[in-house]
């Protein structure tokens, strides 16, 4: 199992994803944004950071990096792609996932561990039972997910909502549980096929038990198990 972790200029969580995946016993290597060959990888991760400084819309420049056309092809062929934080923003800009990520409702950067509820979804990156509450840090200024009501209805119907912000006990507060104001408390979504997954929280930060916890581990192990199953 070999993860490819893309480095855009301004990425800053790529080392953490490498650390987390290797700690779990997988191979993981960097992929430079200018590369156009990603054939050697089983899964691609777009890590967090501030690609190109994010001086215009987050992810808006990175989607034009040479590697991205390969990532699109890889995903269309069913290859698993994970976008974390800035990676999610890039996937949205690249239209690999629906919707957009706006500035947080409070107009402030938020770095905080939050409870997240796993939803029943088509996502191949997650095999936790629906209703599971995972505690994972968020770390962003633009995590306020928005999409049209039609898109939302369609996503719900097709099982594309993967993670929602929630309260500690897994319930959703009547006024919303998303610290950033995200529509329908959405923290993570996948495409219809379930192989492209974008989320604002940082699962790689809660893989190493020495720092923070292990709630992020399933988000990396599930895809490996899925690929192993497909291979059988």
């Amino acid at each position: 199992m070999r993860f490819g972790v893309v480095i855009f200029p301004g990425s800053n969580c790529e080392q953490d994803v490498i650390h987390a995946t290797r700690l779990l016993g997988y191979e993981a290597e960097y992929v430079w944004h200018g590369d156009t060959d990603i054939s050697g990888f089983d899964a691609i991760v777009l890590p967090g950071g501030f690609s190109y400084g994010d001086y215009i819309r987050t992810g808006a420049v990175a989607r034009f990096s040479p590697v991205m056309s390969e990532v699109v092809r890889f995903a269309e062929a069913g290859g698993p792609v994970l976008g974390i934080c800035n990676g999610f923003q890039i996937l949205a800009e690249a239209h690999m996932l629906p919707g957009a990520l706006l500035r947080n409702r409070g107009l402030k950067f938020i770095c905080r561990e939050v409870p997240l509820r796993v939803e029943e979804s088509a996502c191949k990156w997650v095999d936790l039972p629906a209703g599971t509450v995972a505690r994972i840090p968020i770390n962003h200024n633009e995590g306020n997910y928005v999409c049209s009501p039609e898109t939302l209805t369609s996503m719900v119907a097709k099982g594309q909502i993967v993670l929602r912000y929630c309260e500690t006990d897994g319930t959703r507060a009547p006024g919303g549980s998303a610290p950033n104001g995200a529509t329908d408390d959405i923290a993570g979504i996948c495409n219809e096929q379930g192989n492209v997954f974008g989320l604002m929280p940082h699962p790689e930060r809660v893989v190493d038990p020495v720092v923070g916890g292990t709630d992020g581990q399933p988000f990396f192990t599930a895809i490996v198990e899925h690929l192993a199953e497909v291979a059988r």
């Binding site: 200029p9 301004g10 800053n12 969580c13 080392q15 953490d16 650390h19 987390a20 967090g48 950071g49 501030f50 190109y52 400084g53 994010d54 001086y55 409070g106 402030k108 950067f109 938020i110 770095c111 905080r112 840090p137 770390n139 200024n141 500690t168 610290p179 940082h202 790689e204 930060r205 190493d208 020495v210 720092v211 923070g212």
Partner: protein, 742 residues
């Protein structure tokens, strides 16, 4: 020229000295360059003599003061570089960019040494938040620090903030960064090898920040301060992130002879200091420098403080390889000159020579002053005041009310509103997050960790500049000790008023003396730092504020402690003793609106013994929580440990003191630790062996903090007072869990 020098901040004597060095009138370029290099900010001309008091050596010191940052060895071949710097005046004018570029500057100082920046801390001071301007400065500075550090991917793991009227016209933004490297990768900014090339890497050069070090950093503020906005630089953290990666890659491939960052006084400072250290000359052609504006004058190129630029020395043989790495990272790199053997700093505009000076005179020949000093008159009156002559609460209800008010004080309350705006986890090294006494960062692949804290109580320094500076050191060391770290070295940021005023200079001298004595007693060297003078507005100086940034080492990262209480039944032990010391206390300010009296006394030997005892106890795995007593006294220490641990405690303070003094006295050298009941005897034996005073206070448990005969409050009540203060004051969102959950 003669008319210009005063505008540039030079005195008549200094100008005469320049004429003497050159044996002629200086050109305008030369005059600008000297004026910047001889400014207080760059030359330390008022402070240099006093700073010689600092101990700067030790067996672990790989690089002491005089470089871009100090470096110590921490074991297993690993070294950490760190330094703290002020960006006070730019932030007082434009808080977001001022604070952001403060972070950018100190981060460059760190990777210049060959170290990857792994953590930042920020020590902040503002006026009180009931004033709109102060809220603007506070919110803007925090956003600027976060905006820059978050983008870089360098976690901001700690710091401190105080709100006092004394900082109203002159806020303090002191930024500290720590970098990690293998010892053999230590790089110095020493130009060498005539014929080698000067490679300018990074941003283009514009007119931003012209004279930042002289007209902004080295003068007091008055009603014209707003006009100085053009002297504030604008930061580009993306460019800096690329610079970090490119420079570390260049150093990794051994392609550079030397590397220096362009900070205060821009190219002039960077180049002349590199030349001075290497004893060589330089020849620079300003027409080669990529400009972001048209028709720039040579002196503008030479003193511009445009951000995100680095100056490297490369051999001609390595030029192509070095430029290829810069190009890979999307960075400009341009050869702008050469190293020469003439000892002259020559600046050309094409063919025309516009400056030609002995290189060493810029960095090395700045005048050194021996400023007059006199003990300020205010001290006698303030120190004569005895807080015990006031009426103090006695009954539990009134004491509880005061406790809640002190807990809610902006100087004591939760800092979460601040640190949640900072990425404090990226790089996955942060073992102890913000909110404890010190942040702890692991060194991956080893058993090692470092603990870091910044501290200074300006009130104490105002009331006694000598003792206050010692306490700044003691508290930083104590915070690190509470995490289990043995203090290794410090950096400092010495923020004072106008040194040309004898009363101000006396407070500075006493501060340096106090810090030096404390460092010597602990055997902890000063390896880097920064002096920031002229922190005055409308003639009123700030409180003397010698901020200490201390790094300690944990040889076993698993043996560490945090400040929250852990399990019901754990026994609470106070290491140290409480005296009646309400002078300069937060209680005195909150309950009586006074900043007066003598600050707490500090017995350095006792302080050291208390810290060593606690470090040993943590190292032995005995300690379940450790939290020092500082602002607000032991009542606040206990309340915070309850809130953070989300558990109550029942105890008695049998010190025989007046109840308010017992609860709120700010006596030094005290640490509250908890221990599993079964280990209590082992702990007390250890404390006895260290010959430190201690008392067993009670035990952890329940939903309330119950201090016999004095306080009975639920943890929810404590949290409701402590949690939301900052969010409420800035009119922001109050998180539900600031009021309820742990």
């Amino acid at each position: 020229m003669a008319e210009l020098y005063a505008d540039l901040g030079l005195t008549a004597e200094e100008y005469a000295r320049i004429v003497e060095i050159l044996d002629r009138e200086p050109t305008i370029t030369e005059l600008f360059m000297y004026s910047l290099m001889w400014s207080e900010h760059c030359s330390y001309k008022h402070s240099r003599k006093a700073l010689k008091m600092f101990p700067t050596t030790g067996e672990f010191v790989l690089q002491g003061p005089g470089e871009n940052a100090g470096v110590i060895s921490v074991g297993d071949g690993w070294a950490v570089a760190f330094k703290m710097e002020s960006h006070n005046h730019p932030s007082a004018i434009e808080p977001f960019q001022g604070a952001a570029t403060g972070v950018g500057g100190i981060v460059r100082d760190i990777f210049t040494m060959g170290a990857r920046p792994i953590a930042s801390l920020d020590s902040l001071r503002f006026g009180t938040l009931d004033k709109a301007r102060q809220r603007y400065l506070f919110e803007g500075s925090v956003a600027g620090i976060g905006g820059y550090g978050n983008c870089l991917g360098v976690p901001t793991v700690g710091g401190e903030v105080y709100f006092e009227d004394a900082y109203e016209g002159n806020c303090l933004i002191n930024a500290m960064t720590i970098g990690l490297m293998r010892e053999e990768n230590l790089t110095r900014a020493v130009a060498a090898g005539p014929g080698n090339l000067l490679l300018l890497i990074g941003s283009t050069t514009g007119r931003d920040g012209i004279g930042g070090a002289s007209t902004l950093a080295s003068q007091e503020f008055d009603e014209k301060a707003e006009d100085k906005r053009p002297s504030v630089q604008v930061g580009d953290p993306f460019e800096e992130k690329l610079l970090i990666e490119a420079c570390l890659e260049l150093l990794d491939h051994k392609l550079l002879v030397a590397l220096g960052d362009l900070g205060a006084a821009g190219l002039t400072s960077s180049a002349s200091e590199m030349a001075d250290r290497g004893g060589v000359g330089l020849d620079i052609d300003v027409t080669k420098i990529p400009a972001r504006e048209e028709a720039m004058k040579p002196y503008e190129f030479m003193v511009s403080e445009s951000q995100e630029r680095m100056l490297a020395v490369v051999t001609p043989r390595h030029l192509d390889a070095a430029q290829a790495i810069c190009t890979k990272w999307g960075l400009r790199s341009t050869v702008i000159g050469t190293v020469t053997d003439t000892g002259r700093f020559v600046v050309r505009e094409g063919e025309e020579v516009v400056a030609d000076m002995p290189a060493a005179t810029l960095a090395g020949d700045a005048p050194i002053y021996d400023p007059a000093m006199v003990r300020p008159a205010y001290l006698d009156e303030l120190q004569a005041f005895d807080p015990m002559t006031l009426r103090h609460p006695e009954d539990p209800e009134e004491l509880a009310g005061v406790l809640l008010r002190v807990l809610a004080s902006p100087n004591v309350c939760s800092r979460r509103w601040i640190w949640e705006q900072y990425d404090h986890q990226v790089m996955l090294n942060t073992l102890v997050l913000p909110g404890s006494d010190a942040a702890v960062l692991r060194i991956k692949g080893t058993d090692l960790a470092i603990a870091v804290s910044t501290d200074c109580n300006g009130r104490y320094c105002y009331l006694d500049p000598y003792v206050g500076a010692q306490i700044a050191f003691a508290e930083a060391a104590r915070n690190v000790a509470c995490a289990g770290g043995t203090p290794a070295a410090i950096t400092d940021c010495l923020n004072y008023g106008n040194p040309e005023k004898p009363e101000v200079f006396w407070t500075f001298f006493e501060g340096v003396r106090g810090l030096s004595d404390a460092c010597r007693e602990f055997g902890v060297p000063v390896i880097s730092g920064n002096v920031s003078f002229y922190n005055e507005s409308f003639g009123r100086p700030i409180y003397p504020t010698p901020t200490v940034g201390l790094v300690g080492v944990l040889t076993d990262a698993t043996k560490r402690a945090t400040s929250g209480f852990k399990d019901p039944g754990d026994v609470i032990v106070l290491v140290g003793e409480t005296e009646v010391e309400l002078g300069g206390s937060e209680y005195l300010k909150v309950a009586h609106d006074l900043v007066s009296g003598r600050p707490p006394a500090l017995d350095l030997e006792l302080e050291r013994d208390v810290q060593r005892a606690v470090i040993d106890a943590i190292g032995a795995g005995l300690v379940k929580s450790a939290h020092d007593c500082s602002e607000g006294g032991i009542a606040i220490t206990l309340a915070e440990s309850c809130i953070i641990g989300d558990v109550g405690a029942t105890l008695a303070l049998d010190d025989g003191l007046q109840p308010a003094a017992s609860l709120f006295s700010e006596s030094q050298s005290r640490i509250v630790v908890t221990v599993a009941a079964a280990d209590t005897d082992v702990l007390t034996d250890l404390l006895l062996a260290h010959e430190v005073p201690y008392s067993v206070l009670g035990e952890v448990g329940g939903d309330s903090l119950v201090i016999e005969d004095k306080v009975d409050l639920t943890v929810s009540e404590l949290r409701a007072a402590w949690g939301p203060t900052l969010a409420v004051l800035v009119g922001g969102e109050v998180m539900s869990d600031e009021l309820h959950e742990g």
